[in-house]
Amino acid sequence: MLYNEPSPLETRVLSFRFGLPNSATLDTYLATRGYEAFRKAAGMKPEEIIEQVKISNLRGRGGAGFPTGMKWSFVPRTSPKPKYIVVNADESEPGTCKDRVLMENDPHQLIEGCLIAGLAVDAHAGYIYIRGEYRYLIEVMDKAIAEAYEKGWLGKNIQGTGFDFDLYTHSGAGAYECGEESALLESLEGKRGIPRIRPPFPAVVGAFQCPTVLNNVETYCAVPAILRDGGAAFAALGVPKAGGTKMTCLTGHVNKPGVYELRLGFPVKQMIEEVGGGIRQGRKLKAFIPGGSSCPVLTAKEVEGATMDYDSMAQRKSMLGSGGVIIMDEETCMVKAALRIMRFYAHESCGWCIPCREGTTWLRKILTRFHAGGGTRSDIDLIGDLSRNMLGRTFCPLGDAAAMPTLSIVEKFRGEFEDHLNGKPCPFERAGEMVTA
């Protein structure tokens, strides 16, 4: 099911089956070049598969953007231990809802991606770790997996290729931190979602202490297209160092929010104006978050001329992230935004390391007081200072994820903090009024 109208500006590589009748069924999948890539890959050497993925310039779609082919090549294929494929379907980055539609509308694409990854690293079992809130997607995936087993696309000797592969879904239970790959593995093993000390990285010591390929749903979903049409074709869709398309979630103050598949390097301005139908109520853009609430916030001026790709965002000292675009108009209170973001990270901090555990809570308390009019001028500096001293010092990236948006907001929108001083009510508060969606 689609929750928003597609846009003609999309480049539909991963989402081309969306909207087809019974798009989640094996019949539809097979009728639309489904499992073609697997058949092709089954006839290739593992290193050839990995080479195609490298050529495609596919980068991890979960947020970190690590080159996928390289990640796969780190798996010691010759290790006597079993290897595992793990799918990160713990989509929890605020602003992000793309894996949901990928699994809901085209579950077999994900299964095929897992199979190809299995061929590439000699893995014969996979786990799809799906966040607990996506219960209905566990059912969708289970149904597709059952269908695949029934028709010989999973299990022993798949389609006579001699390749065995088992695939399972695994439910999370509500923890953003489990989106971090090593915390996800802990959770998969029935433990608290606390990240692991790295190195070793999951490619070498991952699920059940065995070598593991761990990628985001969207990353695996890109693999069939890469193998089917060749890595070069995929690479050509994007920009020089990042191939393909990005499932992009437009959220916040746009007229046509939704999930759209856009080629990497898509201009931000066109994305907001044409894909998203412009800012609501004809207002102006105030702030822009490129890929989930962990990314540093960009001002309207900063995103001028920007494109949706890793380098363009890095040049602006932000990140492409997960594809969760958050658009804030001129009526947005940035103090409130900073507070809400920090509330989230304080709630989701696993509690393992001191700077994140204590820092997020302290910042949440300051921002709560501040937004309520109890702030002082020195608090503004303190917010920045504490954020800076969390950056790069925490056990896992969650500390950075909390610090980066906060720091960028307090630095770029200092004036709004000053407007909240001296017991003044929030200048943007529209009590009781609710904008109809």
Binding site: R357, E358, W362, K365, R393
Partner: protein
């Protein structure tokens, strides 16, 4: 030996073995890198972030506690960035940590205080409300104050990894994360208190010690635990002649960081209300308090009278008294009382082991061997309950060196969790089980065999034959029950030629029976009621009015191990010094009592001075294997003894049937255990007796 890795820390050239962590390499070079969560021997956490250091060519600061040394690595631990990170981490920690240091038990020996003093900021910028949650009592001995907890997870790890118990965990997440006990609101565990010792702050506190004193008001006296035979050092905190706490925070002694509930808390029998304060003499059938001089006169006169009448003396010694006292008692019995009837309650057949090993050297294993040797075979004993230090050592050996552990026991034991083989045997089935393991044991490079009183007499010889037939180096430990069981045997508290054994003495028509620190009339375990005395005159030296003392004609109140000096020998034959921690009113050390009796009898000259040091000098001269280096034990160490290397025969032949262990669990300790408030207060004691 692999080549050492060369690196630079703060400009100093440092060499370290490959795999060494930067934090340890720095320590070796005299550079302290602060840390809360890092704790040698436990799993790594990288949680507290105090040990962040700068490393050249690395973009971010690295945790020195997880970073192995690398050739050419350049580490800086005192840069402005590092200093700032430490300052902020401490500021973060202090946001919710209550500043109740003036009333906190840990004040003065708190790692957080020390860190803030060295690395912290002068003032906090935290002005938000602190979250207070009430203190929780996890058990009679463990209290938990959540706001003070800095979540270093040391307690969780020592309980899980060190003790093999896993009674503490972490619940909730983020800033709400909290240490939790295994049974909802309370602990069911060994009650060892290791979690309290390892806590860097005052989050976990001791039910016995809390709010009693400030640490600096105490004197710290290294004593040896007087309960089981393992011989743990316990550092007693003493103020105004009172023992306030026991711990081993300096990790000295053979036990390192280990102590069980007995070593940490069960010193508390010393001020039990029933403790004898004055000598008692039976008058008109009732025991009445008398002066020391009257009591000593009564004993000395009667002893002299019996000597003059040619009567028969029986002497029963103790498993708890010092080597000096045992030595002096034996000498007294043999030379002054001229009796061969002397014995003590024997709990393990060390004699048979020494005899079986005749002609072989270096075959008695030490406590350290259990940590260092590649394989350990446990026979019979439930070590975690009866010899917790030995169990701890084996567990640490497994964790750190992947030692192979074999457990051949009648019931499930804690070693099962990591043993390469666990075998359940009925009594009599041991040798069949050993034969089944023969091939695997033969393949081990070396072995330590630990056995309890399941092996006695000929079985010990057979066991040694089995061990010797493996063709690998084998060392042995014969388990004995109490703090100086081994010393009692070594000092010769055994019958001489024609002498009666303990059980025979109880039944014999003796002119006098002298019982020092033992309770032989208590009767056999499981059989209700005590044994009635037969001896015509009964003298008892003890701390309490035991079943034996109740029947005495004269009861002489004795000092406990913590109230006297001397030496004791543990189950592995290692000698350690006891230092007097407190003075007593009323009671006297057994050595002194015996000396006074000798003096009153006019026999002191034959026995020499009743000064521990003098007696020990004589022991070193005359007792085989006790010529141990004094500096070793005078500095708080343990010196292994070398037993007689030749056939050892027992007068009257071996009587393995008289050897029986009490198999005290963690919450029992023979007669002494009955007077410990703590041992009797914990829930597990009632479950586990």
């Amino acid at each position: 030996m692999p080549d050492l890795v060369k690196l630079t820390i703060d400009g100093k050239a440092v060499q370290a073995a490959p795999g060494t962590l930067v934090i340890d390499a720095a320590k070796m070079a005299g550079i302290e890198i602060p840390a809360f969560c890092y704790y040698e021997g436990l799993t790594l956490q990288a949680a507290c972030r105090m040990c962040l250091v700068e490393v050249e060519k690395m973009p971010k600061m690295m945790t020195a506690c997880t970073l192995p040394v690398a050739e050419g690595m350049v580490v800086r631990t005192e840069t402005p960035q590092v200093a700032q990170a430490r300052k902020y981490t401490l500021e973060f920690l202090l946001t919710n940590h209550p500043l109740d240091c003036p009333v906190c038990d840990k004040g003065g020996e708190c790692e957080l205080q020390d860190m803030v003093f060295r690395y912290g900021a002068g003032e906090s910028r935290y002005t938000e409300e602190k979250v207070h949650t009430p203190e929780k009592q996890f058990s009679p001995v463990v209290f938990f104050d959540a706001p003070r907890c800095i979540l270093c997870f040391r307690c969780v790890r020592i309980c899980n990894e060190g003790m093999g118990v896993g009674a503490l965990g972490v619940i909730y997440r983020g800033v709400l994360s909290e240490i939790a006990p295994n049974h909802g609101d309370h602990l069911e565990c060994d009650e060892c208190g290791a979690c309290i010792d390892i806590c860097p702050v005052g989050a976990l506190t001791s039910g016995i010690y809390r709010y009693q004193t400030r640490p600096w008001e105490m004197q710290h006296v290294g004593a040896i635990c007087t309960h089981c035979g393992d011989g743990c050092k316990t550092t007693l905190g003493v103020r105004n002649n009172r023992i306030i706490r026991g711990n081993n925070r300096d990790h000295s002694g053979i036990n390192g960081e280990f102590l069980c509930i007995k070593g940490r808390y069960a010193f508390d029998f010393y001020d039990h209300p029933e403790r004898l304060q004055a000598p008692l003499v039976r008058k008109n059938g009732k025991l009445e308090e008398v002066s020391w001089s009257e009591a000593l006169d009564t004993v000395a006169n009667r002893f002299n009278q019996i000597r003059a009448d040619g009567g028969t003396f029986g002497v029963i010694g103790s498993n708890h008294t010092t080597n000096e006292e045992n030595f002096y008692l034996r000498k007294f019995a043999r030379e002054v009382l001229a009796t061969p009837h002397i014995d003590h309650h024997r709990t393990g057949d060390v004699t048979a082991l020494v005899d079986a090993l005749s002609g072989k050297t270096g075959r008695m294993a030490t406590v350290a061997d259990l940590y260092n040797r590649k394989a350990v075979l446990v026979l019979g004993a439930d070590l975690a309950r009866e010899h917790p230090l030995l169990s701890f050592q084996i567990r640490a050996n497994y964790r750190h060196h992947q030692a192979h552990v074999y457990a051949v026991t009648p019931g499930p034991v804690r070693e099962d969790k990591y043993a390469v083989a666990s075998v359940r045997v009925a009594s009599g089935g041991y040798f069949a089980a050993l034969e089944d393991l023969r091939a695997r044991l033969k393949a081990e490079p070396e072995l330590v065999i630990v056995f309890d009183d399941s092996f006695k007499g000929p079985d010990v010889h057979r066991l040694v034959e089995f061990g010797e037939s493996l063709g690998i180096p084998v060392r042995y430990i014969c388990l004995v029950d109490y703090s100086n069981s081994r010393g009692a045997l070594d000092m010769g508290l055994v019958p001489g030629e024609g002498g009666m054994r303990l059980d025979e003495m109880l039944a014999a028509d003796l002119s006098a029976l002298w019982v020092v620190g033992a309770n032989p009339f208590k009767g056999t375990p499981g059989v209700p009621g005590s044994v009635a005395r037969k001896a015509r005159f009964l003298v008892v030296q003890d701390l309490f009015l035991t079943e034996t003392a109740e029947q005495a004609d004269v009861v002489l109140p004795a000092a406990s191990a913590y109230e006297k000096s001397g030496t004791v020998t543990n189950t592995t034959g290692e000698v350690q010094r006891l230092k007097r921690a407190i003075n007593t009113m009323g009671a006297k050390p057994d050595l002194e009592i015996m000396g006074f009796i000798a003096r009153q009898m006019g026999a002191a000259g034959a026995l020499g001075p009743w000064v521990p040091e003098t007696v020990f000098a004589e022991i070193r001269r005359t007792v085989h294997g006790y010529d141990i280096p004094l500096p070793e034990i005078d500095t708080g160490g343990a010196a292994p003894t070398t037993p007689v290397n030749g056939r050892v025969t027992e007068a009257g032949g071996p009587r393995p049937d008289l050897i029986r262990s009490d198999h005290n669990g963690l919450f029992a300790s023979g007669t002494l255990g009955r007077y410990s408030k703590v041992l009797n207060s914990v829930l597990e004691g009632r479950l586990d007796r």
